[in-house]
Amino acid sequence: MRHLLDTESLGRDNAIAILDTAQEMSAVGEREVKKLPALRGRTVVNLFFEDSTRTRISFEAAAKRLSADVINFSAKGSSVSKGESLKDTAQTLEAMSADAVVIRHWASGAPARLATSGWIDAAVINAGDGTHAHPTQALLDAFTMRTHWARLTGTPSVGGDLAGMRVLIVGDVLHSRVARSNVWLLRTLGARVTLVAPPTLLPVGVEHWPCEVSYDLDATLEAGVDAVMMLRVQAERMKASFFPSAREYARRWGFDDARLARLDALALKDTIVMHPGPMNRGLEISSGAADSPRSTVLDQVRNGVSVRMAALYLLLSGDMKAVPTPALPAFAQPAAKDHP
């Protein structure tokens, strides 16, 4: 595996290798000298076509802890036409001998395009593309869940998966690359995922995903759950009539203080509440929930650095298992059922 583009094509072995390596990397973060020489002399470029300070500094910290040289390249606001700028930028980075390109892009598929276009030879890590995928976010979420699940089940986390864990992903699934990447990765790791959202914020075609779907947050909580992942919701979505008002959204699909209390009433004492950040407090999550002992928000941030160190290290050291390129069906043409 040369690139980390999505979680749909990430096999179980590689996923667990990343999580296990991240666990080793997390120990580095605890040390006084938070640095390993692993990527000395290698160049990692953070190529951001969309602002995200949080993700950029997480990748930057990860690369620096591995002693790589880091170049931050913000391509946002380029006056060149969007298309030319990806190709030209890629060729510029190629000329600079980048070993890895961490790319964040507003367009779904841009990292895959970069990886397969032949414009550049570097390893490509998707740091979030449009509404498609955000694999390192899903990996850090899985890492956070695995630590919790191992503690609960009394098993070692290294080498382990999420078999049997019940996970809710709640909110704007339609526009969420975080949700998409989590659904595929959590499926691979054996968790049981339920998406909870207003019907307007679920994609047509979601019925083909390897998960359950519900419109009723309270009912899914009642059914029992080990982790609740709240997705960021943009209040502006109400202008496009995805929901009537922020208040109505918060009442029906927000993780508010009442629902936090409900977890206690349901004796779900070990259920964690997750959020990829940045949070809209009062909309999809209340401050009470975000700051409660159940919240893993800061663990997720911390784990993000470890997971990104692991991804960079494994991709650049060539220790990822080869995965066959998912072959498109022959020309994606219909089967021969017309043929007599």
């Binding site: 749909e8 036409s81 969007k82 298309g83 030319e84 990806l86 190709k87 892009h105 507003w106 367009a107 779904s108 598929g109 841009a110 895959a112 395009r113 397969t116 276009s117 593309d129 449009g130 509404t131 498609h132 995928a133 690359r177 998409r180 994609p203 047509v204 075609g205 979601v206 083909h208 995903w209 998912p326 498109l328 069906p329 020309f331 994606a332 043409q333 219909p334 089967a335 059922k337 017309d338 043929h339 007599p340």
Partner: protein, 441 residues
Amino acid sequence: MIHASHLIRSASLLGKGTADVLVRDGVIAAVGQDLGGAAIDGATVIDAAGLVALPGMVDLHTHLREPGREDAETVETGTRAAALGGFTAVHAMANSSPVADTAGVVEQVWQLGRESGWVDVHPVGAVTVGLAGEQLAELGAMADSRARVRVFSDDGICVSDPVMMRRALEYVKAFDGVIAQHAQEPRLTAGAQMNEGKVSAVLGLAGWPAVAEESIIARDVLLAQHVGSRLHVCHVSTAGSVEIIRWAKGRGICVTAEVTPHHLLLTEELVRSWDPVYKVNPPLRADEDVHALRAALADGTIDIVGTDHAPHPSEAKECEWAAAAMGMTGLETALSVVQETMIESGLMTWADFARVTSAAPAAIGRLGDQGRPLEPGEPANIVLVDPAARWNVDPAAMATKGRNSPFAGMELPGRVVATFFRGHPTVLDGRLNTPYLHGAR
């Protein structure tokens, strides 16, 4: 004798019995067994044993890009591609720059076609000024111009305002015109990138629902019925659209429909590659849509194949999916793709092929001298096809400027060996010969 004459020996006419065809003075002079003697004195003999003779193909849907986007295509390069693809007439869509919304622009395009001499170029007139959907273009002036426009379309953009559509349908009755609708409800497709369904859900690309096409077609067939007008539906792409058109035809509504070669062969699964060569409007749909389109073309619910040939400069496709232009080239692959999907599959015969690629589109465009039977006295617009040939699609080897063929790398059946346009061989041995010189002979 002014024109050179050609004797086509032992061709299989429409894939049926073999005969000789004598082409002289721009017309089919004789059809029969073992034509010989004085009749063929001086004629160039073409051995057509094993070849299928068909009426020259007529494309109702071609983007030639000139004037304005000569970097993408010109009338000269586009019509060379057409001749190589087996066409003797193309309809040039109106979304040039300036838009073909006046008699001046359509006459310019028509004149460029005459000067090129590879095929007849029939300009399509815009329905509304600047394709803006706000004011009717001078449809009558375009109809009365030397270009004799009969097909009007805002293709690329839907005539979405129902009142505008009604007026256009009514108005063109005055000169037996037809409105060719690009059926795409704009609000339902704002920002749309690909067919909405299983694949768009996974890829996180904004979906293009089938209902955005079907709702416009449903509205338009009812409007056509109400005002008693002729409606043509461009590039039908969904199974639901087929059902609506079938229903409308059953009610006697005067509607014709078109399907592109790419919608007969390719599906949305290709979008998983993220290669924008597969980005097109309307989008590639699902497997069941492809099968419904094939069945509809075979049973006559869909009347014609239109290429929607849409060349783009490579920079328009060398980018992220969302930033890429929509469209695919098609003139030089249409015959092979239709052979692959409709004839090799047993759904149609070569006679059916001639109907959907020549006679029916010519009738919709009201062309008197195209799409005619291969009979004595008819204009000699003929294509000779080797149905047994197979070839690998290489966009770099094409005559079109566009390199955006979604069939690149595929092996397809059928090769155009010769194209006769007004009795003149524009293509011989599968290569461009010389253009027809209007008025010079």
